[in-house]
């Protein structure tokens, strides 16, 4: 049927066009990161005449990206581990023992999904606790910010683990810690990976909390380094692009490897079954 073929062709063209539009910015930063300063001045879509690999060496050195990369890894991994672990522990007891009070605690925690942050008074809290301008402070802040959504995701997952497992373990004499860490925790792996990856990417991409609560440039993560670099070298899009490529490379790699988990988390709670 030619009409049907025509329709399929139109559909494919449409999908390809949209995908192209979605990919343009990434394409732009990649080609411009390899151009000279003059070539990249208008951030055009043309290919570089001669590949300028040294742009990367320049930004790594001038943008102090080695330190920034280390900081980003420290914040993202540290906060994800702390946040996901405390969220799993909380979701577990709240899901298993649904008393009236526990249900209230659960709702109270996931209310944070909607709650806006009051940055002004949060600064006061950071000062009072002496966590302002410390790496520990930013890790705890990120861990806290990941809790509401993680609790929500994990809570729903725990309902699917049969209670008989708990009962058998208790009869065998497991204490609460062993019950959780030896029996339940391993079964939570899929949801913990989903929550973990989402938190990791979210924290890696964020730049406001460090902007306001970390003054020392030695503590800055990758995103803030980009922001600062852009301020300094606004005219030099080749260097800014190279910096951006280095910042988004880990994100894209993690995304491509973990997309199934990411998509699972994104749709959880939005669509049944």
């Amino acid at each position: 049927m030619p009409l049907r073929r025509m329709q399929t062709l139109i559909n494919h063209t449409l999908a390809a066009a949209v995908s192209l539009i979605m990919f343009i910015p990434i394409y732009l930063v990649i080609v411009n990161s390899l151009k000279t300063k003059a070539e990249a001045s208008s951030m055009s879509a043309g290919l570089p005449t001669l590949l300028q690999w040294e742009n990367f060496a320049t930004v790594i050195e001038r943008g102090k990206l080695v330190t920034a990369f280390g900081n980003s890894v420290l914040y993202a991994v540290g906060a994800t581990l702390i946040g996901t672990t405390v969220a799993a522990l909380a979701a577990y007891v709240l899901s298993r023992n649904r008393t009236r009070f526990n249900r209230f605690v659960y709702f109270f925690l996931i209310m944070g999904i909607a709650m806006p942050t009051n940055f002004v008074t949060l600064m006061k809290v950071m000062q009072m606790t002496h966590l302002i301008n410390t790496q520990l402070g930013i890790i705890l802040l990120y861990a806290a910010s990941s809790i509401p959504f993680s609790v929500f995701l994990i809570y729903a997952f725990i309902s699917t683990i049969p209670r008989e497992l708990d009962e058998a373990a208790i009869i065998d004499g497991c204490n609460p810690f062993r019950l959780f860490f030896s029996v339940i925790y391993p079964l939570l792996t899929p949801v913990l990976v989903t929550a973990g990856v989402l938190n990791l990417l979210g924290i890696w991409n964020e730049f406001l909390l460090p902007l306001y609560y970390l003054n020392s440039s030695a503590y800055w993560p990758m995103t803030l380094a980009v922001y600062n670099f852009f301020g300094q070298f606004q005219a030099d899009w080749s260097l800014v692009s190279a910096d951006i490529v280095l910042t988004i490379l880990p994100v894209i790699i993690i995304y491509l490897f973990a997309q199934r988990f990411i998509l699972a988390g994104m749709t959880a709670g939005s669509v049944k079954g």
Partner: protein, 296 residues
């Protein structure tokens, strides 16, 4: 299990870590906000005085040059426009990738979701260059295909700045909404469409009579997600225009940051607290909704 056994097997102190972090960094600042909203707290003096409803009066009566209602208006326009655009485009794309094409559908889904995992900062910086009136890719493209009249001064034109920000945010957000909608579409049994086709229903009729009604719960959730996001929008505006030109794209959150950076902590906190109240009321309904969906 008996309830005494339950509380022994599932001790509440397991929730202690999460509760402590949440209370300290989320709840405490919000509660403190209610107190400081009634004070003249600022960066110039160490004294904090109680000034009653002065901050609220300032916000709602909006004196010369400081039109707070203007930020509210921008925020509402941004929120409504992004909800409509993202929902319509994402639904179209979701249908296209679910029913329209078979080959490469997964590939396209991965590419279209990509903007959602990129840092907002990076997205905004790159679009700043794409939307540059003189040298940007968009205007260069429009001129090269003879559409010069469509080339605007995007982010630097008072009338085009807000639509441009809305456009960039839509670009970034549709992949996320689309992925949720695809999951919803896949849950609709194929037999419904087959039965409709046998009865001679057109593609449009089966979209209207089958897809739309069955997608209502999913559309509600995506609308709510977009709503919560829109009202809190900050970083994309902050990097793209920082509220400018003039104050053409200022939203509630950028206004809070503006007050914050000027050292007017009292006013900033009052705005924050008002936003908090609105979000909490909305959040209550949202969470009931999400919980209901997850339980069923």
């Amino acid at each position: 299990m008996k309830s005494s056994m339950k509380s022994r097997a599932y001790p509440l102190y397991f929730a202690g870590g999460a509760l402590a972090l949440y209370l300290l960094f989320y709840v405490l600042p919000s509660v403190m906000g209610f107190y400081y909203a009634f004070t003249d707290w600022n960066s110039y003096s160490s004294e904090v005085n109680f000034i009653g409803l002065e901050n609220f009066k300032l916000i709602f009566t909006s004196g010369a040059g400081q039109n707070y209602m203007h930020f509210v208006r921008n925020t509402v326009i941004f929120t409504v426009a992004t909800i409509l655009l993202k929902t319509a485009i994402a639904l179209g794309l979701a249908v296209l990738l679910t029913n329209g094409i078979r080959h490469l559908a997964y590939f396209h889904r991965v590419v279209m979701y990509l903007p959602a995992v990129l840092p907002m900062l990076v997205v905004s910086l790159v679009f700043k260059s794409i939307l540059n009136p003189a040298t940007g890719l968009l205007n260069t493209f429009l001129r090269s295909v003879g559409l010069d009249f469509m080339a605007q001064r995007w982010l630097v034109d008072v009338n085009w700045a807000l639509p441009s920000v809305i456009g960039v945010d839509t670009w970034r957000g549709i992949g996320y909404i689309m992925v949720i909608m695809i999951a919803g579409l896949q849950a609709i049994p194929k037999d419904y469409y087959e039965a409709a086709a046998i009865d001679g229903a057109s593609a449009f009729a089966s979209f209207r009579r089958i897809t739309l009604p069955l997608m209502m719960p999913v559309l509600t959730v995506t609308t709510v997600l977009n709503l919560l996001y829109g009202l809190k929008v900050f970083d994309i505006v902050f990097v793209l225009t920082n509220g400018g030109p003039g104050r053409a794209t200022d939203t509630v959150y950028t206004a809070i940051f503006d007050e914050f950076s000027k050292g007017r902590y009292g006013v900033a906190t009052t705005l924050s607290t008002l936003l908090f109240l609105i979000m909490i009321i909305l959040g209550y309904f949202v969470i009931r909704l999400m919980h209901q969906e997850a339980e069923e």
